[in-house]
Structure formats: C-alpha cells, structure tokens
C-alpha cells in the first residue's frame, strides 16, 4: 500500500477510535494524542537539531498553566486561552533559548534543565496565581467540548495540523539545514548560514508546540500541577523519543503511545513508576539505542 492511503486509513481510524471507547479510555486516547505531539516537538530538537534538552517540560507547563490561569481566573474561552498559551510558551522559549542555545551540547542540557527548575520554583511559590503545591483544578471546556468525545476530536484536529506543519518543516530547506548542523555546525557556518539563529528558531518552534500540547492536556485532564514542570517531567519526552526511535519522524509518536499505555497499566499496580521508567531507560540506552522504529526497520530490512 502506498503512503497517502496508509495515512488516510490512519486518520480515519483515529477519528473513529473514540466511538468504541468508554470515557476513561477516551481520556487515555487524548493523552496519547497530546504526548505524541509533545514528543515530536521534542524530537525537532533531539532528532533533527541534535540538541538534547533536559527542560522541555518547561513549555508544556507554561502552556498548561497559561490556559488554566486564563480559564480559571479570567473566565476566558478556549479561543482566547489557546492562542495566549502559544504566545506565552513561544516567549518563554525565546528567552530560555537565548541563553541556552549559545552553547550546544552539555551546556545546553544543563541550562535547559536549570531554567525549567526555575519555572518549577515559580509555579510552587507564586501561590496567588498558580495555586502553589495544589495546582489549579476543576478546569472544564464550555459547551460541546465538555464531552470527552468532542474534546477528543477537537484535540485530534489540532494535533494533526501541528504534526503536518512539523512534517513539512523537517522536509523543507530549513529542516535540511537543521539536520546538516546536527552533525557539523561549523561546516554549516561556512556555507553562509547563521547556525545560532536557526537553532534558536527551532527551539522556539519546539517550545511553542510543547506549550500547545500542555494547553490541550490542561483542559482534558481538568487540572495543572507544579509537577508538570518538575525535572521528572522533562524525562518524559526524552524517553518517548528514544523509546520510539528518534531518528524517524514517526518514532516519537509510537514511543508516546507505548509509554502512555505502559504508565496506565503499571501505575495501576505500583506507585514506583519512576523506578520502572528508570530501568526502562537503562535497558533502552544499553540494548536498543535505535528504539522501536529502528528495531522494526532493521527487522524489515533483513536481520543483520
């Protein structure tokens, strides 16, 4: 079967999916959508730009908190809150990126981590705005979107559009430049391209999309917590991307789906989900660094 028809079938299946699901599983399906988007946005940095961010949760959190604050305190509709969330996460990414992108590699990892923890502290301490430790709860969309199935379709449309945009970008001249500078930034400089501005733009784009994912999730889960900005939260997109395979566009989506399902199943049995996730990371890193998509590709190409 060719790619367009496969894509069409996948989209139709995604549309039809919640018709056979209970509300609980519809929420899980929304979670898969959200984290697929989140993981692909992260992979713009890691897989395409070669920038390992340990603070991507900052933008997911900023998106979520912006929507939560505007809806809860301002009583604003989603039509205002969502664009505001995009703007806020873009601005945050521009500021953090300005400092972090100066030095790619180890500094970048540390700085993104440190800045995210700064935002975590703000979320904890600015109780008037963020509710501190208790977060902001009881969020709800107005009208038809308050029904899980409609919210699922709403989320699906946003996610498909955002994924299509990112797919377009990674295959554009900009995306090719990004992949070139992943391996050899100095050579890119010497063909007349300003490496830093391209890295910064990618960082802002990835942060904005992560903020969008956080905004969708704030409404579907009904609340936001400071934990969204905690350091553990930044491991989530990394694990998803590596689990699914960060050398492909689709890999992080697969990783997100597997991760979310694993979490649902495992955290039903034990509160030590982080411990299990840690072990999964160790196994991944030591045994299958190419992730699920890398493995399936190798099997398909004949086992070597």
């Amino acid at each position: 079967m060719n790619r367009p028809s496969l894509l069409a079938i996948a989209i139709l299946a995604a549309i039809a999916l919640p018709l056979g699901l209970t509300d609980f599983w519809t929420f899980i399906a929304i979670e898969v959508l959200v984290f697929a988007l989140y993981a692909v946005s992260f992979n713009l940095l890691l897989g395409y730009g070669g920038m390992l961010s340990f603070g991507h949760a900052a933008f997911f959190g900023v998106g979520g908190y912006t929507v939560a604050i505007l809806v809860k305190h301002g009583g604003l509709p989603l039509a205002v809150a969502f664009p505001a969330a995009l703007a806020m996460s873009a601005i945050t990414a521009a500021i953090i990126g300005f400092f972090s992108v100066r030095r790619i590699g180890i500094y970048f990892a540390m700085l993104t981590f440190a800045f995210q923890m700064l935002l975590y502290t703000v979320a904890l301490k600015a109780t008037g705005l963020t509710g501190g430790d208790d977060g902001i709860t009881g969020l709800k969309a107005a009208g038809a979107l308050s029904k899980p199935i409609y919210y699922y379709w709403f989320a699906l449309i946003i996610v498909i559009v955002a994924l299509a945009l990112m797919h377009r970008i990674v295959h554009s001249p900009f995306g090719m430049t990004l992949q070139a500078l992943r391996g050899n930034p100095r050579r890119v400089e010497y063909v007349g391209i300003n490496v830093r501005t391209h890295q910064l733009a990618t960082f802002v784009l990835a942060g904005t999309i992560a903020g969008l994912a956080g905004a969708i999730f704030a409404i579907s889960s009904g609340n936001v917590f400071p934990g969204w900005l905690n350091w553990t939260a930044s491991a989530t997109p990394i694990v998803m991307a590596v689990l699914g395979g960060f050398r492909t566009f689709i890999g992080p989506m697969v990783g997100a789906a597997v991760y979310v399902m694993l979490e649902v199943v495992i955290s039903g049995h034990t509160e030590y989900w982080p411990l299990i996730m840690g072990v999964i990371i160790v196994v991944l890193v030591l045994m299958m660094p190419e992730g699920i998509m890398g493995m399936t590709r190798r099997i398909r190409d004949g086992k070597r």
Binding site: P173, F174, G175, A180, G183, Y190, V191
Partner: protein, 255 residues
C-alpha cells in the same frame, strides 16, 4: 593599505594564545587570480593563520581585508556570504546526509533560503547539484551517504561544497592531507584547473613541496609565526633562508 588592487590583504596580523605568539605581524597581499601557497614547517603558524583569517577566532591585533573591505573578526557565515569559501584540514562534510543533500545544504546557504519551509528540500537545485558533482568528478555518487565515500572523494565533495557558494576567494587548508602521493598531484591539478576555469583566487596551505610547486603562482613561507619569505616559486626555492628552514626536506630538486 599597501596594495589597492589586491583581492585579499592581511595587515600586521598577530595572534597570541596565552603566552605563545602563534602569529607575529603577518602582512600579505593576494592579487585576483593568484594561487597562493602558504608553507612552513610544522608549528610555523599555518593553521592559526588560516583559522584567524576565516573568522574562527579573532586576531590579537591586525586586520584582514577582502575586496577593500575590512572583515576582521567577522563570523564565518558572514565571510561565506561575501564570497569566501573554505575547506578544512580534517575533511568537513555532512557525513550523515547524502552527497546530493550535502550540496543542497550548501546551495541553500548560497541562496539564503535556509529559512524557507516551502519547497521540498530533496528535489531542490538538482541541475546545479549535477553540475557541481561533474565539476569535481563525483557524477553518479549523488544518492550515497557522504560518510561512506572514500577519503579522496570526501575531499572532492568538500571542494564542491565550497564551490557551491560561488566564492571569489577559496581557502584550502591542506587540501591533499591524508592522500596517497599520486592522488595528491591529481587533486591539486583539479584545484588549479577549476580555479582558472571559474576565475577563482586560491590560498592554500600545504606541506608536500611537490604539490606546492605543481600549481602555486606565489609562495609565502611562514616561520615561527612570521613571514620568512615571499615570491614566485623559483625565487623562493633559491632563497638560502628557506633552504635552511627546510633543511633536509626536498626543496632543492629542480624538475
């Protein structure tokens, strides 16, 4: 400026690393169309000279001019845009991309289209890519992953990347490093003929004297970070000071 019609001019360039004087007051002028070789024993300052004039790090003092404009300390991407291309001693290509994509990235830089998100990158600029590949003798390698090419072919690819920027001045750092003896001459003759064909000015560093004398029109000899001698090959070869520096090396034999 001493030399108004020079394409490239370096004025009193010095560079210090900590207490070490790596470059000491280097002045040189390169006229359009020249093939200038910068030679010198190991540690003479060739690499520092190259990296300083290509914006990798700023000089401690002194200036660099290109087409009469001061370009001292400008970042590499700015130099590339005004027509300066370079290659590296350790071949610098995009190893994970295909040969074709390597050139497409370079052309994207040339056309300032690295920001555009519209056309599909994979089909961009194909006629020009084929032209460049033919120019350096890499026709039919377009879909190969660049990292899998032989060492010599990677060097050629890097040359093509530099040429994609349509430079007026080409800076080649040890263009034959790591090649077998016969391959070296073929490779430098390719550079020479391309330079004449495309009207390029070339500055290159080289430690193989046979390669230097094969194509260079003017030679500058660096020694301990300073210019020891400069002139046409026959004159430089005859200088006692140069022979002393290269004592034991094969400078003297005349063809």
């Amino acid at each position: 400026m001493a030399n108004a019609d020079a394409l490239f001019h370096v004025d009193g360039l010095s560079k210090q690393f900590g207490g070490v004087q790596a470059l000491a007051n280097v002045t040189m002028s390169v006229a359009p169309g020249e093939l200038r070789a910068v030679i010198g024993p190991n540690g003479a300052g060739k690499s520092t000279f190259f990296n300083t004039i290509t914006g990798l790090f700023p000089p401690t003092s002194g200036n660099v001019f290109f087409q009469g404009e001061r370009i001292t300390g400008q970042p590499p991407h700015a130099l590339a845009r005004i027509g300066i291309g370079r290659t590296f001693q350790i071949t610098s290509i995009f190893r994970e991309l295909t040969v074709r994509e390597n050139l497409q990235v370079a052309l994207t830089g040339r056309e300032r289209r690295s920001w555009s998100i519209w056309p599909k990158a994979r089909t961009m600029n194909m006629p020009r890519v084929r032209e460049l590949l033919a120019l350096v003798g890499l026709t039919d390698t377009g879909t190969r992953i660049a990292g899998t090419l032989s060492h010599g072919d990677q060097k050629r690819l890097e040359l093509a990347i530099a040429l994609a920027g349509q430079p007026r001045l080409l800076l080649l750092d040890e263009p034959t490093a790591g090649m077998a003896a016969q391959e070296r001459l073929a490779s430098i003759h390719l550079v020479g003929s391309l330079a004449r064909e495309l009207g390029l000015t070339v500055i290159f560093t080289e430690h193989d004297m046979a390669v230097v004398f094969a194509v260079a029109t003017v030679i500058t000899v660096l020694h301990q970070g300073a210019v020891l001698a400069e002139g046409i090959p026959a004159a430089v070869r005859a200088m006692p000071a140069v022979q002393q520096v290269y004592l034991g090396e094969a400078v003297a034999p005349v063809e």
